[in-house]
Amino acid sequence: MRTPRLLAVGVLLAALGACSSSEDGKSDSKTVTLVTHESFAVSENVLKDFQKQSGLTVKVLRSGDAGALVNKAVLSKGNPQGDVLFGVDSTFLSRAVDAGVFTSYTAKGGDALPSALTQGTDGKATPVDFGDVCVNYDKAWFAGKKVAPPTSYADLLKPEYKNLLVVENPATSSPGLAFLLGSVATYGEDGWKDYWAKLKANGALVVDGWEEAYQQRFTVGSQGKGDRPLVVSYASSPPAEVVYAEKKPADAPSGVVTDTCFRQVEYAGLLDGAENPGGGKKLLDFLLSPTFQKDVPLQMFVWPAVTDTPLPPEFTKYAALPAKPLTLPADQITKNREAWIDEWTNAVLR
């Protein structure tokens, strides 16, 4: 009866070996590692292009969302998991910069970007793209009811829009936080809480995440199963509705309330302690190159940071960018973010 004994010992050793053996994760000068969130996307041929001209292999490590990404970077500061981090947005940039996650480096062409995008970067991060968080409305629903869609934050308090809006919880959702910041930008630090009290009284439904708000409650996103024709989403959601429709519609099913748009910028930076800083710099430069910038809109549904990048027709036709989006100074966000979220939670949920 040696079989069971040998078998048992073999299985034990295999199991232990399996769990304790670490793969050779060392990157050499030929590999550059990009640490990013789960929504990062790039066309395969665009990435191949870069690998060909630079002679580097790009390893993409994805995990979690933008919020989790920043905090993981802060926790592993000085001993990062890769060379470049992509995907920290303007609401959390200060947390990463102040913690010393990045080494100073600005990608080639980064200095020429508009100051609205580079504010708060401190030479340590490069804006790669931006998007706006705005209220979306269901065109057909409002046309059918013969009601004009709302045009501003103030309109959302009117009785004709009672029980029509779904918003995300700013404590757990990035668009939710942007919409809260937009209300602060509109009503000031003294007025926003009052606004939210009235918004809640007007039947705004709060859910925890964008997926649920858009895909389950919003009449367009849920294909008519939800009962809310107004949702806090992105300026790029209508073009996405066209791109990802079963049959290409003549017009986007949803529209954007441009006066509610709050701008979010997305940055990349060279990680402090990177194993391949040279390759990291090349990768950062590539993120601002025309090849990558052109690829951004239909891959990630955001606008390229470089101003003169040609946009795909879906974006020029169905997407509206406000002339003057709402913004807040980076340091004001940094100073108050947590307090605002707590106050919001107490005022709206408790």
């Binding site: 640490v35 989790a68 996103g221």
Partner: protein
């Protein structure tokens, strides 16, 4: 365990040889789970909590009414969910364990399917049923009832598998003897069957309690932001606020809850011997009483489990103009603008690879731990607690812990391909232990002694006596481990991965973009997840070693 058989006169040579090798063997056995838990649980979690407690004085937190409110809600919803689940699922366990019904193997596999589904998808199914204008006509959306219903939906399988595994092996003759002696059906159940099942029921209830105590997505989606569990608070503080000290305090509260639970569990289980085990063959129901019982159970099964699942399958085919394969076709070819970075079939392969690895790890670690725990010793209590703690720990805590603890050579495992299955196995190990332990403890020691007297070395004794008897619960537990891994999202999403996403991660990516094609593909992927899970479990239930008795 506590009722030793009569002393046997054993030849002294055998007597001397056995304790030494047994001690040595048990040392090795204990080493496997202990080293696994130390490396992948205790060390990472302690590192993160250490940072948390180094940051400030977190005592204030527990005094705040908001946190107390969260704690209270967490406890009572978990208790209510557990009681409801056990009450509703126990008859189901009886039916599936004792009666031979057409499609039984399929039903046994289907009850587990909810387990693997991402909560956001289940939320969509429940919304279709009990949301505004829902199919069932009652609007329970964003009430605690929706949360409880979903918890029963998810955890029904825990009771069916853990209790049913033992129930199927109970020797029926004892109950029959009681009936012959004049006991009513109910009395026979209460006096004979129930005491024998008590350890398994306690084990299942404690797992259900822990799953619902640390419930996250369901509470968020079906209850809405007004309802928060400790798990939701820990997640928020860790992931969004980077308030590690607050998260650390709340994690300790969760640990305390697990410890209390295990103490209660120990009291409930008692120190009784389980009944004799045999392998009775399931038989078709007889008489109107049994058929009614089966009928009622089937109604519950269909209403609670199958309708929500059917809603999801229906959605994967429901296009704008009637039923069709639009979404399935979209899954088949990945074009440049696809929301997924890889073709969908790759996510299926990735999920399967992780699940197989996680199952193997969980079974090896879990069986070793169960063998050690089966004979009470001085360390049983702390060791048992350590084994259960991962169930009461937030996936985020484990994920972030890996990041800061396993980041230095020789243990720089942060982007090792094995980190994901090891994290998933952590959650599955307690399950394997809970499934196997009641049976191991129930095995009559005299059997082992007899084998030893006849000259079998300890390992052979185990192979010939214990292995055949634990096979069925082990297969059930392995199925569960597989399902847990297949559906795991929390830890997986936090571990940076260079390969393709798993199915649940891919579903969340698809749902993260507007457009009918994306949500339709998400439903199609969810359907694939269900089929993969059910097919695997049916296969596992049929696999058996040649020397296991009974029929499966």
């Amino acid at each position: 365990m506590d009722e030793r058989g009569p002393a046997l006169t054993v030849p002294s040579a055998g007597r001397l040889r056995r304790p030494a090798s047994v001690r040595w063997g048990r040392g090795v056995l204990a080493f496997v789970p202990l080293s696994f838990l130390a490396l992948f649980f205790a060390y990472p979690v302690a590192s993160l909590l250490g940072i948390g407690f180094g940051e400030g004085s977190p005592g204030k937190l527990l005094a705040s009414p908001g946190v107390r409110h969260v704690l209270w809600f967490t406890v009572w919803q978990a208790v209510a969910s557990t009681v409801l689940t056990v009450l509703i699922a126990l008859p189901g366990a009886a039916m599936l364990a004792r009666y031979r019904l057409p499609g039984r193997a399929l039903l046994k596999a289907l009850v587990i399917v909810p387990f693997v589904l991402p909560t956001v998808v289940v939320g969509a199914a429940f919304l279709a049923l009990i949301g505004p204008d829902g199919l069932l006509g009652v609007e329970l959306d964003r009430t605690v009832w929706a949360i409880l219903a979903a918890h029963v939906f998810f955890n029904y399988a825990v009771v069916v598998r853990l209790v049913g595994g033992v129930w199927a092996q109970l020797d029926r003759r004892q109950e029959e003897a009681a009936r012959v002696l004049g006991a009513s059906r109910l009395a026979a159940f209460r006096r004979v069957t129930l005491p024998a099942l008590r350890p398994a029921i306690a084990a299942a209830a404690s797992v259900v309690f822990l799953f619902t105590f640390t419930s996250f997505g369901i509470v968020q989606i079906l209850g809405g932001p007004e309802y928060a569990t400790l798990e939701v608070e820990i997640y928020r503080r860790t992931v969004y606020q980077l308030d590690l000290s607050g998260a650390a305090v709340l994690s300790l509260v969760q640990f305390a809850a697990v410890a209390v639970l295990l103490a209660v569990d120990g009291l409930l289980t008692g120190r009784r011997r389980a009944a004799r085990l045999a392998e009775p063959t399931p038989r078709p129901p007889r008489g109107w009483g049994e058929w009614t019982f089966v009928g009622i159970n089937l109604v519950v099964l269909v209403g609670l489990l199958l309708i929500p699942l059917a809603v999801l399958v229906e959605r994967s085919f429901a296009t704008a103009d009637g039923y069709g394969l639009t979404y399935w076709r979209a899954l088949g070819h990945a074009d440049a603008s696809s929301a997924l970075p890889v073709p969908a079939w790759e996510t299926v392969l990735t999920s399967l690879r992780y699940a197989v690895a996680a199952t193997v790890i969980a079974v090896v670690v879990g069986v070793c731990a169960a063998v050690v725990l089966a004979r009470p010793g001085r360390l049983t209590g702390p060791f048992g607690l350590l084994l259960m703690l991962p169930l009461g720990t937030s996936a985020v805590t484990v994920g972030f812990g890996f990041l800061i603890a396993l980041d230095e050579p020789p243990l720089d495992l942060r982007d090792s391909a094995l980190l994901v299955p090891c994290a998933q196995a952590l959650v599955a190990v307690p399950f394997v232990v809970r499934a196997v332990l009641p049976v191991l403890r129930a095995i009559d020691d005299r059997l082992r002694e007899a084998a030893a007297v006849l000259g079998a070395p300890p390992l052979q004794v185990w192979w010939r006596v214990d292995a055949p008897l634990i096979w069925r619960p082990l297969a059930a537990a392995a199925g569960f481990a597989f399902a847990i891994s297949l559906g795991e999202f929390g830890a997986t999403v936090f571990i940076a991965r260079g390969d393709s996403p798993t199915i649940p991660v891919a579903i969340s990516q698809l749902l993260g973009r507007p457009g009918a094609i994306n949500s339709g593909q998400a439903m199609a992927l969810a359907t694939i997840l269900m089929v993969v899970c059910a097919a695997t479990l049916i296969t596992l239930d049929r696999l058996r070693p040649s020397n296991a008795g009974g029929e499966l």
